[in-house]
């Protein structure tokens, strides 16, 4: 890579764009499914989770990328974990101090960002071998890709499961009077898996390249 490459070169922009579609971390790389199931009951925690993952991911990517020539390969996984874990603790502390309500809502899931496979996956696959700026773009792109799926899934789960969006009721009361009922199953984790499955289905039927050949 030449030193004079512009910040938003086509190559760098592709790092952001690709994870939103053809290399989406959840639907294509199938990483980070666990948290996608857990926090998508409602839209709001999903959005905050996206932002937290974004913060953790971009900073750890840049840190790992800066250290990439100093990290001994034999302990690189440990180093990645330490960087991610400290970032997660920082995010948790900051949320507790400045966004107490939100931190209560996310409760255990902030801590679980540590185990989010996307972050370690990208550190291992990208940041260890690339310069800070492309690593930053890659992290941002993947966090967006993760957040996009989270938001789509939680949109349907909250709408169909509780009849609300961001906590506000959107299904009018008259629907309920006619016998419409919220689908309790949507609130339970299995439906997140099914919604993710539907997204994967839609995505692959539109983009045949993604269909695995046997």
């Amino acid at each position: 890579m030449s030193e004079r490459e512009p910040l938003f070169s086509a190559k760098n922009l592709k790092l952001i764009r690709e994870p939103l579609g053809p290399s989406n971390p959840i639907t294509v790389q199938v990483l980070g499914i666990c948290s996608a199931l857990a926090i998508t009951v409602q839209l709001k925690p999903a959005i905050v989770m996206t932002l937290s993952v974004m913060a953790v991911m971009t900073v750890s990517s840049v840190v790992i990328s800066l250290l990439r020539k100093m990290i001994p390969p034999r302990i690189r996984i440990i180093v990645q974990l330490v960087v991610i874990a400290s970032m997660v603790i920082l995010v948790d502390e900051v949320l507790q101090a400045f966004a107490y309500e939100v931190s209560k809502q996310l409760s255990v899931f902030v801590g679980l960002i540590i185990t989010n496979c996307i972050i370690m996956g990208r550190l291992e696959a990208f940041a260890l071998a690339n310069k800070p700026w492309p690593s930053f773009m890659d992290a941002l792109g993947n966090a967006f890709g993760y957040g996009l799926i989270l938001i789509i899934v939680s949109f349907f789960r909250e709408l169909l499961g509780s009849g609300t969006l961001m906590g506000y009721q959107v299904v009018p009361n008259s629907f309920y009077e006619f016998g419409y009922a919220n689908n309790g199953l949507m609130v339970l984790p299995p439906m997140a898996l099914i919604v993710v499955g539907v997204i994967i289905w839609v995505q692959r039927s539109k983009n045949k390249d993604l269909v695995e050949q046997n």
């Binding site: 009951v41 390969p73 302990i75 180093v79 900051v94 255990v108 339970l188």
Partner: protein, 244 residues
Amino acid sequence: MKSYSNTYIFIFSVIMVVVVAVLLSFVAMQLKPLQDLNQEIERKEDILASVGEAEDVSDVKDKNAFIEQEFEKYIADSYVVNFNGETVDRDAFEVTLNIKVQADKPVEERLYPVFVYTAEGGAHKYIVPVRGKGLWGPIWGYMAFEPDMNTIAGAIFDHSKETPGLGAEINTNWFEEEFIGKKIFNEQGEFVSIGVLKNAETANNPHAVDAISGGTITSNGLDDMLEDYLAGYVAHFKEKRTEN
């Protein structure tokens, strides 16, 4: 791939750990006062919410100041009693803030704070904190009693790690409202607590509420918490009841 000596790896790890430790402890110490303040405000908000005050808090710009002001206004009096109902010279709010310490002790040795709520018309309600174990972590709450020290006027529960959509439902309105009007003493005046039961037939049973489907362990934990914690107040409640 470049190879690194063991010494390098060792030094690298030591430096990394020290840097991370210093950074995290520094941040934790800097943010501690803010976090403590948030917790204090939350306790006060919960105490007010158990009697249905400060409900429009989300419309207020300066939440902390609003809660402090409402707390001053409505919770004029508070005191601490022990298991035998004798008054202990301690600050009720401070005991409530560190309720974990009390909850870890046996029932007989705990200190029991009581907050007296005075409504605008002058009527009193008595608010007591409770704390127990859910499925994944602690659960806690505030129960408000009418002056008969028997009928529940309101209840607020919260948790730190219960399963969202299941056990975590204990902090929702529909569940908390079930408690209003329930009684903790039976007709013979014996303490029976409030059962959190499956098929509670709540309409005919003044001492039970419906448990949460899918949240059995949290519901059982809540049931145990009420029985365990309210038992400590029985002596004081019986005394207070005759006074009122």
